[in-house]
């Protein structure tokens, strides 16, 4: 089954920057995909389109067979709850503790309190932040904030996980830990799309690699590597 499908999708920003050009791509359920390419090639744009943070200029995007371009605005929250997203700039809530930030993803879908108390510490332990659950984002290092963002993205076990450079601020050891977590999430059937610059990670994982360059899809390779 196709989980994500891009049909002829282009994105031109208000200032006429063409960030994506005629992208055609299908991602199957349960796939693990690396989105690579130099800075400014359109990786974040690709991810933002999927959660409708921005709107495509042309083309259609399907998620689980549904055209999300035609989604009513009242259905957008529903879409976002089914897509965990690790944002490149983390997007943590500054006035909430680590615990509350992660719990928020469960609050919005109406999970009961006892479940939140059970799940959040588990997930925080997974990303190695169980000792900092009462800290506020500004009290954390960049890498720690990134791990909170990761924990929040998958605490509600969404069918799709998007990760925009989730290892960007992490040392190799922690990065490996995060990749193990993402692999594990992928193993239970979650479709994972990860934008990254990290050559070592891509090369060691040997998963599908899609390469963008100036908004164009220039390579789509099964069990690929980072590139030259």
């Amino acid at each position: 089954m196709d989980m994500i499908e891009f049909k002829n999708v282009s994105k031109v920003y208000d200032d006429d920057t063409a960030a994506l050009k005629d992208i055609d791509l299908t991602i199957k359920k349960g796939e693990f995909l690396f989105l690579v390419g130099p800075s400014g090639s359109g990786k974040s744009t690709f991810i933002k389109l999927l959660i409708k943070e921005i709107k495509e200029t042309k083309g259609s995007i399907f998620i689980a067979g549904r055209n999300i371009c035609k989604l009513k605005s009242s259905r957008i929250p529903q879409l976002r709850r089914n897509i965990g997203c690790v944002f490149q700039d983390f997007k943590l809530l500054p006035n909430k503790t680590v615990f509350e930030n992660v719990a928020f993803a469960l609050e919005v879908i109406g999970r009961p309190g006892y479940e939140i108390k059970l799940q959040v510490p588990q997930v925080l332990k997974l990303v190695g932040l169980h000792n900092k659950d009462q800290s506020y984002p500004h009290q954390l290092s960049g890498g720690e904030q990134q791990r909170v963002s990761i924990a929040r993205a998958f605490v509600n076990r969404p069918p799709i996980l998007l990760a925009d450079e989730p290892t960007g601020n992490l040392d190799p050891a922690t990065s490996d830990g995060i990749m193990k977590i993402l692999s594990r999430i992928n193993l239970i059937g979650t479709t994972v799309v990860m934008a990254t610059h990290d050559r070592n990670i891509v090369n060691s994982m040997r998963r599908r690699v899609v390469e963008l360059e100036e908004g164009e899809l220039i390579r789509d390779q099964k069990r690929g590597v980072y590139g030259d």
């Binding site: 929250p77 976002r80 006035n95 609050e107």
Partner: protein, 302 residues
Amino acid sequence: MVRPRYFFSETFTSLKRNFLMGFTAITTVAITLFIVGFFAILVFDIQGIINSIKGQVELAVYLEDNISTELKEYIEEEIKSWEETDELKFISKEQALERFKEQNQGSDILKEIQGNPLPASFEITLKDPEKVDQVALRFVDKDGNYIEGVDDVIYGRNYVRRLFSITAIVGTIAILIIIVLLLATIVLIFNTIRLSIYARRKEIEVMKLVGATNWFVRIPFLFEGFFEGFTGSILSVILLYLLSSLLLVKGESVILETMRVKELAILGSGNMIFYIYGGIVILGGFIGLLSSAIALRRYVKV
């Protein structure tokens, strides 16, 4: 999806953590509504004084000494039948003398009075004192003379006219002041709450990106706005209470003693002060809620 636990704890913690913004909003509400309340008391008292002065305007119709009982009774019935008449009192010659003696107790004048030089009279209080001119004219015939049996009609024409034009001006000014104050208050409170929501627009954006519905984001902000408006208005009521019980009540008791004014905000029989307090609290909560609602319309969009 009803989640009172989340919304309450969210509102509470958010108030705690955005303390400075909330504090600003609450003090803004408290101070502005305090001023509005203070003016409301002032305007009400001034209006009360004006009304009581107006109420004191009455017509005295002095009767000729030799008036026949029939004519006296006929005039009495006439006056009673007019719809402008509120109260009618007949003062006989004896009562007039009695009253004169009472008012001038111990004065030398009393010794000089022989017999009873005072006329009998009708004292008319009008429902609408501004009609006093009209009513007085009814005691005058076509030729400009007083009708039979009536010796004189007295009501201080110029004084009444001036009084009414002054009270009209004072009333208009007072209402204008209250309206302007209210508008300023609403704008000020609205801006404060809007700013506090504007300051958190990124937060709102993030909540939405994580899948929160509009209402999920809105409700805690609405609670917060209501709470700020409500708390601020309670504070202003406390301030007003202190001011009125320490200061205003003294002024009012002087007015009460010297002018016998019935309609006073604090000491009056209508308990107006409680309506003012209640109005302030309702207004505060309402403006808080409404301000958040309007501000959210701007910042909480998909």
